[in-house]
Amino acid sequence: MNKRDFLKGMILFFPAGGLLEMAANAAAKETAATDAAGAQPAAKGAPAASAYNGDKHYYGMGIEIDKCIGCSRCVEACKAENDVPQEPFYFRTWIERYVITKDHGVIVESINVKGKAAKETPQEDRDVIRTFFVPKLCNHCIHPPCVQVCPVGATFSTKDGVVLVDSERCVGCRYCIQACPYGARYLHPKTRTADKCNFCYHRVVKGLLPACVEVCPTQARIFGDLKSKASRLTRFYRMNKIHVLKPALNTEPKVYYAGLDGEVR
């Protein structure tokens, strides 16, 4: 293929892509409309979500470290979407910044927390050998220790691979918070029950993306269905060298990191 052919191809390819997307959107709207229409006569017994079949999905998230610019829009979106208290110590997702220096020192900061310890520590540029951001959230583990220890079964794994907390059932004993190796849980000060990322389950069952994924300007976060061969996550998993957090604990996280540094815990 010479340059001319390539450019010609491009001219055709992008509009074609746009058209396809429009067609897909129209189709999606139609199904949504029929779903809604179908649900209305059925009234209480069968809500609109009845069209959603959890058996057919298995969700996870991919995070490409090199794409994260630490803008924290995901953190803000998450707090707004999920009624997470604004104080800088309640997070369903947060960003850590790692600075690795020449003498193999590691400086880690939570960029969403502005405490004394988390203030910017200026580094001599020449001392820094690499630096990167790591978005963190609940790993929706395949073997979640939080689910294992919950005395009342208020925290549980769904069929589609999401770990949820039933705030109506949680007694607030906080054993799950102790059991989570990733610090992903907190006690919600209003409900006095455990809270954490739920992959925006209310959005996902409607076919939408989690808020953090939706707003990420660099597409550092990829959400998808591991059961679908066509999902972006499946492709991400195939195309990258993947690592998960604290693999030795055998929790089998479903948040997959591409380009994760060994210093990250």
Partner: protein, 403 residues
Amino acid sequence: MIETSGQRLGELLEHITGFIYPNEIEIHWSILIVVYPYVTGLVAGAFILASLVKIFNVKALQPTYRLSLLTALAFLLVAPLPLLLHLGRPERFYEILLTPNVTSAMAMFGFVYAWYLMGVLLLEIWFEYRRDLVVLAGQGRGLVRQIHRALSLYSTDVSEAALAFDRKAIRAITVIGIPSAFLLHGYVGFIFGSVKANPWWSSVLMPIVFLMSAIVSGIAMVIFLYMVLTALRKEPLDMLCLDTVTSYLFYAVIVDFSLEALDFIHRLYESEESVGILAKLITDKLFMSLLVLQILLGMFIPLGILVLAKARQFNEDMRKMLYFTAVILIQLGIFATRWNVVIGGQLFSKSFRGLMTYKMEGMGIEGLLLSLVLLAAPFVLLAVLVRILPTRRLEDQVAPARS
């Protein structure tokens, strides 16, 4: 409420050293959860001391037998309170009993507790006291008589055959009771020891260390109560009993110390990923409570005192004073042990890169005041119990008077 908890946590941000996951700023298991294993430990320890009399026939300990049982009961009745008060939603506590999650160690609490209270302790106490209650109900008048009759469950049979059955029942219950006491407190250790996310807790030795320290604290508590009670009642103290029980205390402290030393050496030698932060935890955060209170004041000094009291031919008063000092120091040390496990395990980040700070509330529901109330409650209960239920058998009380 939300404001204040937010402000409180905000202040703590200033006291972080290194890096922590942002949600980790809040210390979730507070002083109340320190009180809980301390109290159940006393239950298990006191019961095991009582069992020495019945199973191993250590006759010298007979004067402390009933007191041990009542001590266990008084503390057991208070044990669930700190747990209940600590819940974010205490009004939902019954869910642990109605819909327990079978994979959760904590969900077993209700069953272990109920079994120990109903299946072991109350039964043994009833069989032990049945004869005396029948006799007391015959002697007393008015309300006291009614209480004694009700407590004896309106039984009246004091024939030799019935008493023989009582003795047999007590023996059987004690045989089941010892493993149950082990279960009661070993289980508390398992709750901590099975948290793989936390290297300070995650240890197979945890239930055993909990158990041994429970035996230490329980024996020390019964000695303390026995000495105080005899002094209050101006009764003579049975020195043979005191010397014997302090010997058991001495051996228990030795075993407890060996286990904890083993745990420490093992961690240091294996030197896993977490060893750096745990070393910092000990030197920066737990220096006072671990090295000074738990090990020096709570173990070495009382051990020295006990050795001194045994080795030298001191007179009775001197020995009493030494024992008394030792048991108080030991109580302090075991409380510090619980503190170091529960609070210590939450003072370092699971990123192994930083340390947090615990600031105890004063008046709040998870504060110091309430903890002191909860720690005092068993003594109040016990004061009531020893009034209704004599700590010495009636026949024994009568016998010396005649001779």
